[in-house]
């Protein structure tokens, strides 16, 4: 019987400043508090997250988030067993603010420090929300990431495949921009898609013909732009129906790619003969109802449990960092005061990097 721990988690790798307290043991923990301060309004004018703006906001907001998370849990720092912080991958200015704040908190309170991989936070969330047992298959699909992970333990991940260029969340945002819809693109494109005909425009399903689980989404954006421009050239603009149809076509293409690649990833996963087979999704794109329904149907046909954590724990948050920290802490992991913030930090170091190379190393 593992011990119970209380872990403070801190997250600042993109445009959400977050802090949380999680209590329990691996596979049986609960969220005592989870504070997320988004920055959407700060970045709205720029059509995407501006790293310097994000870093400035994190530096002046994170300690407030920590105070609020402790207050909401009715605890003080003395009551937690360790401080867990996202140490990468992500926008380095924000990650660094989080890491430095966490070092100050840990040193001042005399608590151990844990450096958590942001992707591990997402990948372990189904253990927090649904108590999934290892090994399970994870589809992490967000604004910054898209990959299939075999999760075999708190520190044992195999990447089965992932995007070779953009993440689907980026593609949703870009689609929204191209069509004059508000950011974030995910919800606004989904709303329009519901009113559209996915068959009117035929957009490509990149890499579907190639074996394996790798994906590509940047060509899809370009195809959408061409379709938009040809309508605009003909009619001088888009009707609302044109726009809805384009959204529907785009969403259907993303969904088809994710479902087909998930089918292949499931086949590889099921070779492990897991006793309780499950596919979990995380990331903001997992909130898309059409994509979710398609994945659910796939799982049903494969007799695999489908798990999608609630949206608040699917998108960036600090409860996942606290929970991943809890698993690390239980396993004896500790960071020291020289903990480094890393812009790039692949979860599966055994694989050839998919994105990024050179002296900065692999992104994912």
């Amino acid at each position: 019987m593992a011990e119970h721990f209380r872990i403070l988690g801190i997250e600042s790798s993109c445009d959400d400043s977050a802090a949380s307290v999680v209590e329990g043991r691996p596979g049986a923990a609960r969220v005592l508090s989870s504070i997320v301060e988004g920055q959407a309004s700060l970045h709205a004018a720029f059509g995407g997250v501006v790293p310097e703006i994000a870093a400035r906001a994190h530096a002046e907001r994170l300690d407030g988030c920590v105070m609020r998370a402790l207050d909401a849990a009715e605890l003080t720092l003395r009551d937690v067993d360790a401080v867990a912080v996202t140490a990468g991958p992500g926008l380095i200015g924000g990650v660094m603010s989080g890491v430095m704040l966490a070092k100050g908190l840990a040193l001042g309170a005399g608590k151990p420090l844990l450096g958590v991989n942001h992707l591990a936070g997402h990948a372990l969330t189904p253990r927090l929300t649904d108590g999934l047992t290892y090994p399970y298959l994870m589809l992490l699909v967000s604004g910054g990431h898209c990959q299939f992970l075999l999760v075999k333990g708190p520190d044992a991940f195999s990447r089965l495949g992932g995007t070779i260029d953009d993440a689907p969340g980026e593609a949703f945002d870009k689609t929204a921009r191209l069509l004059g819809l508000p950011q974030p693109g995910g919800p606004s494109v989904e709303t329009e898609a519901a009113k559209g005909d996915p068959r009117r425009f035929r957009l490509p399903r990149p890499l579907l013909g190639k074996s394996g689980c790798d994906m590509s989404f940047s060509g899809l954006k370009t195809a959408l732009l061409r379709a938009r421009d040809s309508i605009c050239a003909e009619s001088g603009g888009l009707t609302r129906q044109d726009r809805a149809d384009l959204c529907a076509a785009f969403q259907a293409a993303v969904s088809d790619v994710l479902v087909e690649k998930s089918r292949r990833a499931l086949a590889t996963y099921l070779e492990l003969q897991p006793s309780q087979p499950a596919l979990a999704v995380a990331g903001g794109v997992a909130a898309n109802a059409a994509i979710r329904t398609a994945l659910e149907r796939l799982c049903e046909s494969a007799s695999v449990r489908f798990v999608a954590p609630p949206l608040s724990l699917c998108t960036d948050n600090a409860a996942m960092i606290a929970y991943a920290g809890l698993e690390m802490f239980q396993a004896g992991g500790r960071a020291d005061m020289s903990l480094t913030a890393r812009p790039r930090w692949p979860l599966d170091a055994s694989q050839t990097p998919m994105l990024g190379s050179g002296k900065k190393g692999a992104k994912a």
Binding site: G104, L238, M337
Partner: protein
């Protein structure tokens, strides 16, 4: 110095260095200053631990923290400010933000006019006058636009851009009297009692970001 004198920890990473100083009353108990272009995020806390160990003081005995808020390297000032906020929160003590312009001028002879000048990218500087005949507020500007009228008898120019600015004004370049961390601790020692706002980086410049360029398409049936 009686042991009841306040214990203040000062640190700074706003320039190409990492510095920590521990002050008890008026006396520097222990201090370290290392020149470094990068790596401050990894070095700062081990250096704090080393300075405390050298002084035999416990972190819990600190009365306040002084932290350099720049201006300077944006990442550098966020490193120190975030660290200070974490320590302040966990120790339940105030953290006082101190500008590097003020820190550089600290320790100058009483009454002597000082122009503090810090290097910035693209031939720009940050300047501020202390005890100068003309009021010279904190400003960010191209080096060659500094008014020559700032030159005055006995003016000492300090800071990372001291040589260039002194040459521009025909004034005298002076070394700062103290390392930044020590100066920051000394200034914080005068301010930590009473209302202290949380330390915040001094940027002077908005974030480099351009609004989204590609215009959205015209929507034909938009009413």
């Amino acid at each position: 110095m009686p042991s009841s004198a306040p214990l203040i920890l000062g640190f700074d990473t706003s320039g190409p260095w990492c510095g920590v100083a521990l002050l008890r009353g008026d006396a520097v108990v222990a201090a370290q200053h290392e020149e470094m272009r990068k790596g401050q995020a990894e070095r700062l806390f081990p250096m704090i631990e080393e300075v405390l160990a050298a002084s035999g003081a416990e972190l819990a005995a600190l009365d306040a923290i002084g932290v350099g808020t720049g201006p300077g390297n944006f990442t550098g000032i966020r490193i120190a400010v975030s660290a200070a906020r974490g320590l302040a929160l966990s120790l339940g003590i105030p953290a006082v933000g101190v500008s590097l312009l003020e820190a550089m001028a600290c320790g100058a002879p009483q009454g002597a006019p000082v122009l503090s000048a810090l290097s910035a990218p693209r031939d720009h500087v940050y300047i501020e006058g202390f005890g100068t005949a003309q009021d010279i507020p904190r400003t960010f500007l191209p080096l060659d636009e500094i008014s020559k009228s700032f030159a005055e008898d006995g003016l000492a120019v300090v800071g990372t851009a001291a040589a260039e600015v002194a040459a521009h004004l025909g004034a005298t370049e002076s070394p700062a009297a103290q390392d930044p961390a020590e100066a920051i601790a000394r200034i914080a020692a005068q301010r930590w009692q009473g209302e202290v706002p949380p330390p915040a980086p001094l940027y002077f410049r908005p974030a480099d970001a351009a609004p989204a360029s590609d215009p959205p398409p015209r929507i034909l049936d938009e009413t």
